[in-house]
């Protein structure tokens, strides 16, 4: 997150630069500017969605990258100087951005078959889900054999049987949820328990037990680095990162899906006041179709958001998916979850900072 923060400072500069550069070409209605997370996922989206979309419609796609800073969207809306047409936003920003009039409200169900997206929580008021990013308990199968492997988040907390440090993201969301799962809450019940009185205290209390053994990481790269260099014996990690780490280092990191996992849902949304809303809707519709979704999932190793795309996945990819353990997954979306983090995010983050510093 910090690396990305720094990178985003550069991106801000580049955005200005590209805004000036694009002033000439953006006049054409045949160009859409899309902002996403950049990097490997951004490249995969270009290959699987943007290139075929341009071939089909003739609409050029220009991409930009950001790190989910809502402030950057807000600045464009407030100054009336739109650089982006379509933004990739996570579930919380989708809700906040929609409420605050930064993203255009669109009735996606009238454009796309909503039943295919029910499993990932359906459409937002403004955004349509295009990417699911699950994260769970990861260990190295070359260091721990299948028989000795941890099976649950209770095992993750058990430092007597499995000595060594534990990797966790340096951010309260996902960590508090996992703490509750390890305290015996069923993944699907986590948002309700967290939002109920005493839920946050319970999560922090559980986290306190493991705290001396936690190494906090600040970027997805770091999460894998810690596991690959044996700095930690197990850790929380995102599926896409695990796939990339395994592929590029020919290693055998494994996610224990049955222990319970969290799934972030990422949406595509149209910026409020974009003069190319019609084309933007066309692009998002295309991005959510069966084939582009399957190809994107194949490239990234993520599960597709569109249910009908599962049939097109390769055997290898399907074997990697948590399909058998869907009931062990907690979607980071839905009204209870979103409202909880939207109202309490700042104060929990402060509490988390004082908690980790002590």
């Amino acid at each position: 997150m910090f690396i990305r923060n720094l990178r985003s400072a550069g991106v801000a500069g580049l955005t200005l630069l590209s805004a000036t550069l694009m002033a000439g070409q953006a006049i054409s209605a045949e160009t859409l500017t899309v902002v996403n997370q950049g990097g490997a996922p951004g490249d995969a989206q270009r290959t699987s969605v943007f290139v075929p979309f341009t071939a089909k419609t003739g609409i050029e796609i220009v991409t930009d990258a950001y790190n989910q800073e809502l402030a950057k969207i807000r600045a464009q809306i407030e100054t009336g100087n739109l650089i982006w047409d379509v933004a990739s936003v996570h579930s919380l920003n989708e809700a906040v951005g929609c409420d605050e009039g930064l993203l255009a409200p669109i009735d996606w169900a009238s454009h796309i078959d909503a039943s295919l997206f029910e499993a990932v929580g359906g459409f937002g008021k403004c955004g349509a889900p295009y990417l699911v990013s699950p994260g769970g308990l990861v260990y190295d199968t070359e260091r721990l054999s299948e028989a000795d492997a941890p099976k649950s988040w209770q095992d993750f907390w058990n430092v007597e049987k499995w000595p060594g440090k534990r990797g966790f993201p340096f951010q309260p969301d996902q960590v508090l949820e996992i703490a509750l799962i390890s305290d015996g809450v069923a993944p699907r019940d986590v948002p309700g328990v967290l939002a109920a009185p005493g839920g946050v205290d319970r999560a922090f209390a559980r986290l306190e037990e493991l705290k001396p053994h936690i190494v906090w990481w600040k970027s997805g790269d770091e999460s894998m680095q810690l596991l690959l260099t044996n700095e930690v014996s197990m850790g929380y990690g995102w599926q896409g990162r695990v796939n990339v780490a395994n592929r590029s280092n020919s290693r055998k990191l494994k996610i224990v899906w049955e222990a319970g996992y969290t799934s972030a849902v990422i949406y595509m949304a149209v910026m409020q006041g974009s003069p190319r809303e019609k084309e933007a809707i066309e692009l998002i519709k295309y991005a959510l179709e069966t084939e582009p979704q399957a190809e994107y999932a194949e490239l990234m190793g993520y599960p597709p958001a569109n249910e009908s795309s599962f049939a097109l996945l390769s055997e290898e990819n399907r074997a990697n998916q948590p399909t058998k353990f869907l009931d062990r997954g907690m979607m980071q979306t839905g009204e209870v979850y979103i409202n909880f983090w939207r109202d309490n995010g700042d104060s929990i983050r402060q509490r988390f900072s004082t908690f980790t510093a002590r």
């Binding site: 923060n5 605050e100 044996n230 104060s347 900072s353 004082t354 510093a357």
Partner: protein, 417 residues
Amino acid sequence: MDASLNTVGETLTAKADLRSLVRRAERRHFTTMLALMAPSVVFVALLFVVPILLFLFRSIDNAEIPRMLPQTVVAIDSWTQGDLPDEPVYAALASDLLALKDTPAAAVLGRRLNFAVPGYRGLITKTVRGLPETLVAPAKTTLVEIDEKWLDPVYWATLKRQSGRLTDFYLLTATDLTRDLDGSIESVSDDQAIFMSLYARTLYTAIGVTVLCLLIGYPVAAMMASARPAVANWLLMLVLVPFWTSLLVRTTAWVVLLQNEGVVNKLLLYFNFIDEPLKLMFNTTGVFIAMVHVLLPYMILPLYSVMKGISPVHLRAASSLGATPATVFRTVYLPLTIPGVAAGCTLVFVLSVGFYVTPALVGGPRDQMIGYFIAYFTNSAVNWGLASALGVFLILLIAAIYLALGKLVGFDKLKVR
């Protein structure tokens, strides 16, 4: 008599003429100078001073609430805390909120109030959504039916406190203070108190890094200044190449070197200096190592330029008068290099106060600095009031240290040459 008086008078007039001529010439000179400087002054003012002042103003600015709740801020003024407000206040709020229905302003208001009380955002959203198109008296019943939180004085007290055009809310928050129900200032709860310890840590890290940089940089600069030109050039390159390399690259290189199975630990283990890997990363040690390395050129370069200007004649003179090398250093060399020391220390200190990437990458949770939170509140939480309040105190902190340093060594020596 008369004649001589006349001469004196003439001389006086001539003097006055000359004086006014000189003054006129000076004025002309000054005007030209101003005209020449004007573009850069305007440039700096418009692109640097004005934006900073505007952003700093956000730390006390409270335009949003009076704008969005015009009737409520008037009505709530007469309410004295302790009890629940009367019907007119409820009615004013209901009518203000109704005007916000189906506009983004409701969410913006919710976000603003949520800074003060977590959960206020949800309350506003829910209330705005639940209000009927036409209000029926009593408004109190309507609001309480939508959410019983409207019976909790906390929400009203917050509203009253945030009803002015200016607010001290952000400045208080940035110093771990809050106002309780009847408006008196108190410390926030233990698990929310974060910023004072962050300032302390930022200060401690910055001072530590500055001192270490000085201890390491001083001999290096002295050696460079006294070396043969060819050698000095090579040494200068060794300082400049890392100086030109990106901060991120250098920090990441330290990650590779310092981690448990990193180069440093591998070497130490191989030569049997240690039995198990040293913890060099994710703690204060790592932060200091990486920050000192990153900032060292900022110490060496000003020191070097000052030392280069010191004539060896002074040192030789002192020695020939019988001073020992230690005395020469203490009484001649060190005092002459003080401007370089002051400039280097100021540079390194000011730069390290704002650091957050390096502590984030090689530090642990105990090593995060105030810069991280300023970035977080600016970019992610979009709480610009708090971000600028934190900035205000950071600027004050730096100014205070600069003034103290200035008193200590003299302001003329603090110039960076």
